[in-house]
Subunit: 202 residues, 2 copies
DNA sequence: TTCAGGTAACTTACCGCAGGGTCATTTACC
DNA sequence: GGTAAATGACCCTGCGGTAAGTTACCTGAA
């Protein structure tokens, strides 16, 4: 970083600063939710003042969108790849969990942006969040459908409910993980494997 | 209601009005979270103006506390009763779920007050919420401990994580339920029984 | 070698508004 | 006329957002 600075330059180059801001923003939006997070507070964490955030991202929505896209894309890729590898329906949850833990190891709050209940339902920001959420739900429904069909349960609503609860389980695990900083992605995966085996025989 | 009004009286008697306000407050706090809910909006839903809320409950925190106590006490009782009935460890989750669904059938948002992430962690309000949450977690840990011991898993952290995820599952189920207004408490209990049987053989 | 001027990075000081909270007052019944 | 119920009008803080600079570095001409 910090090489090839050309014209007038004071302080940290834009690209690097933007990355810092997105990092702090993700933490803060994840912790306090969209409506609870404050732009001044994010700026303070970066060691900068508010107008710089507006110069770079335009608005609170703009910054949230930047954070959301980074998190959402990373997650979507991780889950898609894990599911593409295939395997027995009972093995998918663990595979997906492992991929998610690995992807978000250094950035655990990023997951929280995808299920922020304080988001406005309308506008560009609500639409983008809804888009990522529906993509995630689609994965969950595919997994749930396979799993349930293999056990002779086909009721539409049941599968819908299972998929919904599944994303809630992922959310709970990550929330718990956030409170256990010493726990690595590997620890989490091993813990989940152990529990599922004992609890469900999966 | 509305009987035995003694001295000077205009409009709805205090007790009745307070109940209305707590009802609307619970819905609104549950929907938007503590920080997202607005006192004017709650007043509007009751058909009254803001100062009346302050006259009866003192502050936003005061109203939230009133809502929280009603929800929390109802929940604690329901769960305590369900768990006191005993039974095989694998049957407890369903028993508890049934009790919760029945208790919150007419008041589904009430559950949400117990896991509000937008709550301030400090102050009377944070302490009260933490109190109810820890009581709920204690129940969950008892259940998880019994269940896991019966399967030869004793790791402290594993049990802690399971208990945490369990309350998350309840949360997900109720969130899903809120979006399915036609679904009764009985429907939900039956659905959960069906799923657990097929999925885990419980 | 120096220094004028250009530009990116960054800040100070402000605006408007929504939301929590309060006070004095009015309304309607006993 | 006493009292409970209820309101209109207000204050203040915090936050999203903006305008008008200021700072520090780079470049190129004298």
């Amino acid at each position: 970083m910090t090489e090839a600075r050309v014209a007038g330059t004071k302080g940290v180059p834009r690209e690097e600063r933007e990355a810092q801001i997105i990092g702090a923003g993700t933490r803060e939006f994840g912790r306090a939710g969209y409506s609870g997070a404050s732009m001044v507070e994010i700026a303070r964490q970066v060691g900068v003042t508010k107008p710089l955030l507006y110069q770079y991202f335009g608005s609170k929505d703009g910054l949230y969108l930047a954070c959301l896209h980074r998190s959402g894309d990373k997650l979507t890729e991780a889950v898609a790849e894990a599911m593409a590898r295939g395997g027995a329906p009972e093995r998918m949850p663990l595979a997906v969990l492992g991929a998610i833990f690995t992807a978000f190891d250094q950035d655990r709050y990023a997951w929280k942006l995808l299920r922020d209940e304080t988001l406005p339902k309308t506008g560009e920001i609500g639409a983008a969040a809804e888009d990522y959420r529906s993509r995630l739900d689609a994965f969950a429904e595919i997994g749930a459908t396979e799993l349930m069909h293999s056990r002779g349960l086909t009721a539409r609503k049941d599968i819908e409910a299972i998929a919904f609860v599944w994303t809630g389980v992922v959310d709970s695990l990550i929330t718990w993980w956030i409170e256990q900083p010493q726990e690595t992605a590997g620890d989490m995966a091993a813990r989940c494997a152990r529990i599922m085996e004992k609890l469900f025989g999966w």
